[in-house]
Symmetry: C2
Amino acid sequence: MQKVSSIELGKQLGINANSIRKDISYLGEIGNCRAGYSLATLKESLIQNLNINRKRVVCLVGLGRLGSAILKYEQLSQNGFKIAAGFDTNINKIETIQTKVPLYPASEIALVVRRERIELGLLAVPGAAAVETAKRLIDGGIRGIVNFSAVVLRPEKGVFIRNIDLVSELRVISVITGFLDQNS
Amino acid sequence: MQKVSSIELGKQLGINANSIRKDISYLGEIGNCRAGYSLATLKESLIQNLNINRKRVVCLVGLGRLGSAILKYEQLSQNGFKIAAGFDTNINKIETIQTKVPLYPASEIALVVRRERIELGLLAVPGAAAVETAKRLIDGGIRGIVNFSAVVLRPEKGVFIRNIDLVSELRVISVITGFLDQNS
DNA sequence: ATTTGTGAACCAATTCACAGCG
DNA sequence: CGCTGTGAATTGGTTCACAAAT
């Protein structure tokens, strides 16, 4: 039986072992005090408690360079996510891109999201289109959005939003390393 | 003279106005009590205090789909970042990709990073290559890394690392929306 | 002996509340 | 008045320390 200790988990994840234990304990968990956690039991418990026991249906809006990269990103399907639809305003792209994922014009976002019961949206459109596009996703009943555009989307009732912006990330690092330089 | 209040800033950013004021106050700031902050003064103060008054030199490792998308991402140069080098293990890519950015084989990472005084690295390589590539960047004296691979890079002395993983982001949203569904 | 689970202590960050100023 | 700046209160999360379990 495969085992893993909080210390080992912590090392792998770069997290304090105490935190690992505390977090797991919230699941009302049963680790073995002698030999750590049973891998199978822990995994099962996490799957149950975090509700990740089924594939999630996602869609992708924006089929530019970033969108195309995401479309081909195998890690998604390997980790329980299925891209059920792709959208773009450019009809040309919809007709030329080679993929098994069904592609639609952006005008049909709300319709398709509702029909296919799509839960999450990946937003890879230009900043100028982000707010409008998000609105369409929400109209279709989307539950969450990962927004890659430079525009910060404001949280909306019942829709969880995660803004990911490369420039912001770089700025964070710039500022921190700059600060370290000054104080070393 | 353009003015902006903490309330307005907060709305734009989706952040509590109190936090805005407190944060700005740490800069030893002079907002006008009647009419909010002078846009020009605030901007200048932020630039000075956060040390973002010069272009930062970055490099890009991995010229696959994601890397290529980043290479063409104009927002970078528009926000004070200059891609001074691109790297890939595949010599073919280095010779065929059309760009003004100088491209080098991955074997030269440390060399070029040091020579060009590159401060930040964008890591868009497959997970399997992430640790090794990060090591080369660090050997070259890089100060920070934005890691897009699925592998979590552990913090290294003097090198600030930011892990960005699409799958993780999706999982966060999945778990949260799933939780909301159960408790609504 | 190890390693979990957890109360207690600690620390950082957010929010509150309001005095002070134009 | 409206808005800033900031002490005080609160919250949330991390770390500590140790008793319990095997």
